[in-house]
Symmetry: C2
Subunit: 404 residues, 2 copies
């Protein structure tokens, strides 16, 4: 008998019909002889509606109370889905995080799971019940409700799969798998049957929205077999695992990120320790810097450019301007009409010429590369934002064909 964890997102449970559909998937899995743990997100816009309610009361509500408020959304979903299963004759029980014992650290609104108690869930599974767990939430050592931050329900699902050594952790979404690139930009994008954790991580952090990084990191750490699959169509999804068989394709996909900006510090003194001071300052301000380029400028000064989430630009500029006299730079430039396009693939290192093939595709499409940044399984280029979709298509066509 297998143990399967199934996670359904907010759009998959947004109304009674969708909940019945989800209950049908769960019922089939259960009737096939599996033990099933289900993790649900809040219905559709519930979380946003609750956030609106909070902001009508206070512009800056405390995170403890915010977590108390938001955690109700998932509880509503699991209770309704348990009713739908019972209505189908499937024994089911809904459990909030405090009932399961999903122990987190004390950081409200962005808590980390420390430990999951197995007892309650195991006793329900032993009684042949489908166990429905509220995603996105935990409880800290003070007995207070915490939430796990963005992508929290995926994290709940993978953590449960790890704690119970599940055979499979299925993430049901409204897409049917992981594609070589965004099918809305490139219609001939191909669904990948398999992808490695590392590739998924690079694709996710480069802008693919299918899975949240934290859940993939956790899956990699505990070697949880994941599968991204559609809750609307019954067909195979994409398996995410340690080693994937990539066969014909040497890259897994092409990703685009248009939510970034580039900051340049111009005319820094050419003395040691300048870069250290700049990036420790930003680190203390909780600003995640991505690609960094340092260049020697005129007359012995140098420039430092780096990319960062566009949302953090004003805070970064404020921090840097505050320290202008210490850092001793001439001025700051901000470029926010940029995009990052990346190719990702575990086989890249062992396949010569992959990066060159990407650059050639961009050159042929007459797209100017501003910066290049690479990791072991990724090559990213920074380009003008207006060229982004064209670049994705050109690179994808070069690696996967035009589909014509």
């Amino acid at each position: 008998m297998n143990l399967i964890v199934q996670k359904f997102g907010g759009s998959s449970v947004r109304d009674a019909d969708r909940i019945r559909n989800v209950a049908g998937i769960i019922a089939d899995t259960y009737k096939a002889g599996n033990n099933v743990i289900v993790v649900l997100s809040a219905q559709g816009d519930t979380t946003d509606d609750l956030i609106d309610k909070a902001h009508e009361i206070s512009p800056n509500p405390s995170k403890r109370e915010m977590d108390m408020l938001l955690s109700t959304g998932e509880q509503i979903s699991i209770a309704l889905c348990a009713m739908a299963l019972e209505q189908m004759g499937i024994p089911a029980v809904s459990l909030a995080a405090w009932q399961v014992g999903i122990q987190t650290n004390r950081t409200y609104s962005n808590a980390r799971i420390k430990r999951i108690d197995r007892e309650r869930i195991q006793s329900e599974l032993d009684r042949k019940k489908v166990v429905l767990v509220a995603g996105f939430q935990g409880v800290n050592r003070y007995g207070d409700v915490t939430t796990l931050g963005r992508g929290g329900s995926d994290t709940s699902a993978v953590a449960l799969a790890a704690a119970f050594n599940a055979d499979l952790c299925q993430i049901y979404t409204d897409v049917d798998g992981v594609y070589t690139t965004d099918p809305r930009i490139v219609p001939n994008a191909v669904k990948l049957p398999e992808i490695t954790y590392d590739e998924m991580l690079e694709l996710a952090s480069q802008g693919a929205q299918v899975l949240h990084n934290r859940s993939v990191e956790l899956a990699k750490k505990y070697n949880v077999n994941m599968e991204v699959v559609s809750s609307l169509e019954r067909k195979p999804g994409t398996k995410v695992k340690e080693v994937a068989n990539m066969e014909k394709t040497n890259i897994a996909g092409v990703a685009k990120d248009t939510s970034i900006a580039r900051i340049a510090l111009v005319g820094l003194e050419h003395t040691p320790g300048v870069a250290f001071r700049v990036f420790s300052l930003l680190g203390k301000g909780n600003i995640n810097v991505d690609a960094i380029i340092q260049s020697i400028g005129r007359e012995g000064s140098k420039d430092i450019s780096f990319t960062l989430p566009r949302a953090d630009v004003s805070e970064a500029v404020r921090l840097l301007e505050e320290q202008k006299s210490t850092l001793n730079f001439d001025h700051i430039t901000v470029e926010d009409q940029i995009a990052k396009v990346s190719i990702v693939g575990a086989g890249m290192m062992t396949t010569p010429g992959v990066a060159a093939k990407m650059f050639e595709a961009l050159y042929d499409a007459n797209i100017n590369i501003q910066m290049i940044n690479t990791s072991e399984i990724r090559v990213s280029v920074l380009i003008d934002q207006e060229d982004a979709d064209r670049a994705v298509k050109a690179v994808h066509d070069r690696f996967f064909g035009t589909g014509e």
Copy 2:
């Protein structure tokens, strides 16, 4: 320093403005130097909306899952109200029933409170926080969420007041106290400054909707001083206590109940044990019978009439018809166009002529009395439903004057 428990119902917290208003009342109580425990109901129509959601999924959802679902409503209220208090600079913390430790029996959807743990609330009070507790809910020995049934938040408030030996338990509603009768029927109804537990119980069970009986019974048992007070106007309410000073009025009020029906079993055999068999049958069917009248009919047979909630009529008739051959009656008549009008007063027993004064008022108003039923502090008459409001006014005028 006093400890005050304040309970606010659903309409008192129905939107952001009302929540701010409630937070203002709480803040004033806190700033006056009191410890404050607050109990909140779910906002406005939240509970009904959640019930609708459940019924879209299942015509008959399990009570366990229903409680899991409904308990989210109060949690939303307490989190939002905590935010409103924090916004006013008042330290506050919201606690769901499982965090407080409101232990109930296992009866889902109509649980009874068995015990309240004091630790968590006391530690928050010691830290000078306003403690906001989710009303209507508890947790059973299995660690499952239960709800307390109708009037549950009032019960939560009184139980907390009893557990913490509070100096006062204020029930805030959208009326400003307990009146001698319904002011919508009799405009010159008078607000009572005080009322005894027993009078309140009789008034409540006779149709006055201000407080739920369970909470008053609990208050009487633990001698909790209650006060019914308006959340919209800052003025004195009605105190509910063991001994009230009734001064000039010898009755506390006039109540009307139009939700009842009368069933008559006609032509029963005039043998011993018939009444016992009839009412044990209805008791087993969980049907609460109120007034009973037995009369000798023609030819040695007898009739038994009794009143019961109108909602239970079809079930009662079904049970009786099923046993028609055993009970050996001729036929059943059902009269549902009736009403019960009652006068209630602790001083009634020691004041001769109170019942006669009521009957006289009804006679003068040309209203026919079908049945009479009395307790130590109550006299009820059964009359035609179309006469009900006229009867209330006539009786009220006789005892309290016409206000002219």
